[in-house]
């Protein structure tokens, strides 16, 4: 009898021991604690989605805000997203210097220097910030003027113009539905506007419009030239260009197509690319150049003064880990620096 039980006991205990590593797997299989499909990207990708979300959250507060505006008062109210400071009085800020709750303003506000807002800040009118202010998130239905050395921690959006003073730091998203002016020393990550100026003076530059003939030429399927090694484009080139090395577009030259280099792309003075510019390394765009399509670099993009990227009505994207803008450049669309973008002095 013992001789039969012993091997059985051995087999059972060995089997049980082997099952130990499978126990968590079997438990998960039965209880299905993590059996849903992987959640894919929820963000619709639009830069102003946070602004839209904040505006939507504030809709239930509008009636109370109107009351505050009529009485010229400020008051804290409870809302579904916590306590909110409603500011009815327009003009010079009289509320606390530092606010930790969300703030909703009925009209224009002029904030003092070194104002700190740790909660979201929303104004239906213009916002004029003081120097060295800090905002977590700032939204205006009109214009925003940020004074020097202001920091935006998450996002900022203006329905009208957005002016950013010297040495400001824009972490996260910065966008305007009309125009965005950056001043020297500013750093940024992702910015968008129909037109972006890298200095006040850039707004006075003449901006080229679409030339229909050029547009047709660039889109007419002119084929692709693939070069082993480096390539120089001395004058006019029709069609896409792909090089296993670097690509130099000489001064005054034009490419009616896109340019890709598995090295650097250098556009010398007044060169034009009526397509995209892509580099696995660095893109250097010299003064007076024009690029119609997206600029994508895996290391760095350098844009000199007098450069125009994109066209009014045909915005585009500049994307790289590091983006350096000289004052005096005009860009239409998105500028997205994965590590840091900076406006030079």
């Amino acid at each position: 009898m013992i001789s039969v039980l012993a091997p059985l006991a051995l087999a059972t205990s060995t089997g049980a021991l082997l099952m130990v590593p499978l126990a968590p797997a079997l438990r998960e299989l039965m209880h299905k604690r993590d059996a849903g499909p992987l959640i894919t990207r929820k963000d619709d990708g639009r830069i102003s989605s946070f602004a839209s979300s904040l505006r939507t959250r504030c809709i239930p507060l509008q009636a109370l805000l109107d009351q505050c505006a009529q009485q010229g008062e400020s008051q804290f109210v409870d809302s579904p997203f916590g306590q909110v400071l409603l500011v009815g009085k327009s003009g010079v800020w009289t509320a606390p210097q530092h606010t930790t709750t969300p703030v909703v303003c009925a009209g224009c506000v002029e904030l003092p220097p070194e104002y700190h807002s740790i909660g979201d800040f929303y104004s239906r009118g213009n916002v004029r910030g003081g120097t060295r202010s800090i905002f977590r998130a700032l939204l205006s239905d009109d214009e925003i003027l940020l004074d020097d050395e202001t920091q935006i921690l998450r996002w900022i959006h203006a329905e009208s113009a957005l002016h950013v003073g010297r040495n400001c730091r824009l972490y996260g998203r910065a966008s305007s539905a009309k125009s965005l002016t950056l001043s020297s020393g500013c750093s940024f990550e992702r910015v968008y506007a129909p037109v972006i100026y890298s200095s006040k003076e850039a707004a006075t530059l003449s901006v080229r419009e679409e030339y229909a003939a050029y547009a047709r030429l660039a889109q007419s399927g002119l084929g692709r030239t693939r070069i082993r090694g480096a390539m120089h484009i001395p004058d006019q080139h029709r069609g896409d260009v792909v090089a296993t090395g670097s690509v130099d577009v000489e001064e005054g030259a034009s490419v009616f197509g896109s340019v890709k280099a598995n090295g650097e792309v250098i556009l010398k003075g007044r060169a034009e690319v009526h397509g995209s510019v892509v580099s696995t390394k660095r893109v250097h765009i010299s003064s007076g150049c024009f690029v119609k399509g997206p600029i994508i670099a895996e290391r760095e993009v350098i844009i000199a003064s007098g450069v125009q990227i994109g066209l009014p009505g045909t915005p585009t994207t500049v994307s790289a880990p590091a983006i350096h803008l000289a004052p005096g450049a005009v860009l239409h669309g998105t500028v997205w620096a994965q590590v840091e973008g900076r406006v030079g002095d």
Binding site: P21, L22, P24, A25, R27, E28, L29, K32, R33, D34, A35, G36, P37, L38, I39, T40, R41, K42, D43, D44, G45, R46, I47, S49, S53, R190, Y192, G221, G223, R224, R226, R228, D240, V241, V242, G257, S258, V259, K260, N262, G275, S276, V278, T280, K292, G293, P294, I296, E298, T314, P315, T316, T317, S319, G333, T334, W336, Q338
Partner: protein, 419 residues
Amino acid sequence: MLLELFTAVVVLICIYTIRHYCFTVNRLIGQQRHPYVDVDTADWPPVTVLIAAHNEEAVVADILSALLEVDYPADKLAIVPVNDRSIDGTREIIDSYVVRYPGRITPFHRSGGKPGKAAALKDAMAYVNTEIMLVFDADYVPGKALIRQLVAPFFDPEVGSVMGRVVPLNVGKKLLTRILDLERSGGYQVDQQARMNLHFVPQYGGTVAGIRKSALDEIGGWNENTLAEDTDLTYRMLLAGWKTVYENRAECYEEVPERWPVRVRQIMRWAKGHNQAMVGYSAALLRSRNVSWWERLDGLLLLGVYMMAPVLLLGWLLAIVLFYLGAPVGGSIAVLGLAAFTTLGNFAAFFEIAAAARLDGSRARIQLLPLTFLGFTVSAICVSRAAWQQFAASIRGQEMVWHKTERSRVAPVVLEKSA
């Protein structure tokens, strides 16, 4: 002789083990490449979306509804369902959408011709009037931003094709779907993205994918004589100097097989098609001047990936035989065991799956990892059987038959709404 053969098997298995380790380490601590993901503003080009549909009445309405809601200029988006000789209600469902959304959908009802997805797509080219075209299988459910994400890489004139990430939708249904969820995760999140990071050869997957028409024309169009038009196209693009880009953040839901026989047929078709590409393109890849040395090495290893299953089984057999013959195999058996354990399967090795689950932020599903051995064992046997059938068919001069993957969906998909 047997000992030398065994040594060769162990070396091969070790090479693939090292490859998988490199990919995993790259994904965990290496520099990640997503050069096109931030292109969100552009003069978007016109695009044609081809939906391959063969008896897809269970799923085709979902993809049409999803495509009609995507965030892409409607005047630049042509939706072409390719109804390939369906005998169920696919045609009626497509036509009902055509009536409900006039001008948005251009159906192609194919009633004859050679079977197979590549043959259907080849015939559908008459409906493609744009430079960029995207291809989806009918069981996919694209998100709102997906079209833009897949089109963005085509601003790079070197890019000939683009591949997005496939995410299983019916994860919780069965043990098989849970295993496939983990396999897909490892295959895309780690394997494909690592090859993108390292400038190797990301694979065009045939669905959730984009193609530049001029590149396709240059390489001679769709090859209807293959069981895996995706692998075939990947290598023809590569040899012609076009890049394939993998977009890990261009995610799209798909339905994975819920029954083992369906899975067996699917993986056997993949294996046969892949092996066809291996025979057809290995020599050309070695000779090509359009590829870098790294692309050449990775491309060759990728071509051989489905041959590793029969090689592995051969290794096990040899190990047993040599052991009983008293051959001095020594530590080779241990090496083979370890390497076999970590490389068995369809791209997604165990440590790749573990890393992928971590990268995806998955919580409890990683506990199922020991059970993936079941899926890998089935895969190893099926892939080996497919290789044998293929070998036998080539000797007999038989033509291979394309098998469609059956769908299990019975109700429309309801996904969590975007924020």
